[in-house]
């Protein structure tokens, strides 16, 4: 990060007092940053050969895919991969919905309950101390994974809660409430005339909280539209993100098309106008190195269960300065300094946002999952998944009457593809795969607006994980090819 970037980042974090002169000057100062991407942006996305910016796209060649021995060893760590479904070995191609769990994650969670279970951050007995130590060690592990400070990592129940937390806290700031006596939240409030910007491809979890925040504050929700090929309309983005924009909330990777969003274009646009940037990194975290500071975002969230961790745990990263200014989301025990019958003062982040007994075992399980992924190496995970994604996309392209939603090119994207089989509803298509032991997702994948944009109500999504094999991809391709014939549809007819 250059000194100039840092200046812009700081500006993004502080210049929201509604003083237009301050914002204008902020934009002028950051204008040089914007000019570094004069339309070179689209060509970047369209040219897989161009070296992608750090942390933005899957590695393509710098690291080697897993060898077959390594892959066998990885697979042996997932107990569930040993089971059969409908008489066939399970081919789990639904990691984008939830990842399977390696034994060490299951064991870590279980070991906590068996050996160290106690409430954290209260009590003075030995187990209470051990549990607190393990819980905070989990936070340190996640912080190191993200290359951020420990007090910038908040554990939530899931990514959805993390996004709701941010939207709700901004709403509370908007009605003049802060964190106890502190007025630091006021500049983050939204009011009539302000705008929140999202994209048309968001998961519902990164759309509805902003709809509600807009409704509560009188702000306007706008969205960056997508082209027919699923890419964002960056010309529209440049005109939509402007002086009124107070927050930009967007996905790192689309959970429908698998495409990596051009953060290197969009984040500077938001920075230039002093808007907060909220990143939904759920589909990125299991596949790409996630470094929120390099990406220059204020907030980044991801879910533990998609990263080979337990369910019931999500991570909220926020810049310390921002988190310490925002009011709480849920109120109660473990998040206060002083409470009287009339009022309360709140602890700083992360405790401010972790009231009640937190998700201790889940956090410990997640930390183990983070170690699992880190030991494999995200660069090698990306290389392996990239090779399989190419195989999957090339195979799908050979099957008649299959439409891949979004761009069918291998980069920059992660290992998932959503398809529509001409003349067959996704639910019926998925049934054919299930019959031969292939787990794939059918439906709208919590992205109804994007499916509507594509003119369909549902799709069939194949998504890869660290344990995916070429054989599984080939089985899925053969099953997809069998769908239309099963329903009596020839290669030429549509119904």
């Amino acid at each position: 990060m250059t000194g100039h970037d840092r200046a812009c980042a700081r500006l993004g974090g502080t210049a929201r007092g509604g003083i237009s002169a301050q914002r204008t000057s902020g934009r002028a100062r950051c204008a040089t940053r914007r000019s570094e991407y004069p339309g070179g942006v689209t060509s970047l996305a369209a040219t897989p050969a161009a070296s992608p910016p750090a942390g933005h796209a899957a590695a393509t060649g710098s690291s080697a895919p897993f060898t077959s021995d390594e892959l066998a060893s990885i697979r042996s760590q997932f107990p569930i991969l040993g089971r059969e479904v409908n008489g066939h070995p399970l081919a789990y191609l639904d990691s984008a919905a939830t990842a399977q769990k390696p034994l060490r994650v299951i064991e870590a969670e279980s070991a906590f309950y068996r050996e160290s279970n106690a409430a954290v951050h209260r009590g003075a007995h030995t187990l209470a101390g051990e549990a607190t130590e393990l819980y905070e060690d989990a936070r340190r592990t996640v912080a190191a994974f993200l290359a951020v400070d420990e007090n910038e990592v908040v554990f939530t129940s899931h990514a959805t809660e993390a996004l709701n937390l941010v939207a709700y806290a901004l709403g509370t700031a908007s009605i003049g409430r802060g964190a106890g006596a502190s007025a630091a939240a006021a500049p983050y409030g939204l009011h009539a005339g302000d705008e929140i910007v999202v994209t048309e491809l968001e998961h519902h979890a990164n759309l509805i909280p902003w709809q509600e925040l807009a409704a509560r504050t009188g702000a306007t929700l706008r969205y960056i539209p997508v082209h027919d090929d699923g890419t964002l309309d960056l010309d529209a983005a440049a005109s939509i993100i402007g002086d009124r924009t107070r927050a930009l909330a967007l996905a790192h990777v689309s959970n429908v098309t698998g495409a990596t969003l051009p953060l290197e274009v969009l984040v500077p646009l938001a920075r230039a106008v002093g808007a907060l940037v909220v990143l939904d990194a759920c589909q990125a975290a299991p596949h790409l190195a996630l470094h929120p500071r390099e990406l220059d975002v204020d907030i980044a969230v991801f879910s533990g269960h998609k990263l080979y961790g337990p369910t019931g745990i999500g991570v909220l990263y926020g810049r310390a300065e921002l988190l310490n200014a925002l009011p709480p989301f849920l109120y109660g025990g473990s998040m206060i300094t002083t409470v009287t019958m009339e009022r309360a003062e709140y602890l700083p982040s992360p405790q401010r946002f972790e009231p009640g007994t937190p998700r201790i075992a889940q956090a410990i399980g997640l930390a183990e999952a983070v170690r699992f992924v880190s030991e494999l190496g995200l660069d090698r995970i990306a290389a392996s998944e990239h090779a399989l994604t190419e195989r999957m996309l090339a195979g799908l392209a050979r099957i008649p009457k299959i439409r891949v939603l979004g761009q069918p090119s291998p980069a920059p994207r992660v290992g998932l593809a959503s398809i529509v089989v001409d003349g067959v509803h996704a639910h019926d298509a998925g049934q054919v795969l299930d019959e031969v032991g292939i787990a794939a997702r059918v439906g709208h994948h919590c992205a109804q607006p994007l499916h509507r944009r594509f003119g369909v109500t549902a799709s069939l999504r194949l998504s890869l994980g660290v344990h995916s094999t070429a054989d599984e991809v080939d089985r899925a391709l053969a099953a997809v090819a069998s769908i239309r014939p099963f329903f009596g549809l020839s290669e030429g007819a549509t119904s």
């Binding site: 639910h427 019926d428 049934q431 054919v432 059918v442 439906g443």
Partner: protein, 156 residues
């Protein structure tokens, strides 16, 4: 016959491709049901005889998977056949039929639909082994049930 072939019997595929009873009139009372998981939608109307005592026909419109669409079509076919045979359903009779249909579909394959009572719709028995698909098959029947309940429930 594999499980998949039992689920997608030819009758079901035929009805999903060439559905019966499609077409609603403007302004008629309907029930709209949807399956949020996959976006299946059915809007259905019960058409009553002049006295309002018997169901002459079932009409519907919808979009979704073959099971949801075939099930609506088969319900409409069954209503038409009953009316043609001079045994058009009373609200009580349809309520009983819906209850029986639901019980069979939730039986995980233990209770097949009675062909005497359900005619071609008995082909939907195969759905009961696929828990995730029961809701698809139920959609039209739930819409009919909703309309009956709105009417004040079955006569005592």
């Amino acid at each position: 016959m594999s499980g998949l072939e039992q689920l997608y019997q030819q009758i079901i595929i035929d009805h999903s491709k060439h559905p019966h009873g499609v077409g609603l009139d403007a302004g008629e009372e309907t029930s709209h049901q949807r399956n949020p998981v996959c976006g299946d939608e059915i809007t259905l109307a019960l058409r009553w005889d002049a006295e309002g005592a018997h169901i002459d026909s079932v009409a519907w419109e919808g979009a979704g998977c073959s099971i949801s669409q075939a099930s609506a079509s088969l319900l409409a076919t069954l209503a038409e056949e009953s009316a043609d045979e001079g045994t058009a359903w009373t609200p009580d009779e349809l309520t009983a039929l819906i209850d029986e249909f639901r019980e069979a579909l939730r039986s995980r394959g233990a209770t097949p639909l009675d062909e005497e009572r359900f005619g071609d719709a008995a082909a939907l028995s195969g759905v009961s082994k696929y828990v995730a698909r029961v809701k698809c098959a139920m959609l039209a029947w739930v819409a009919a049930e909703d309309l009956l309940q709105r009417r004040g429930g079955p006569a005592a």
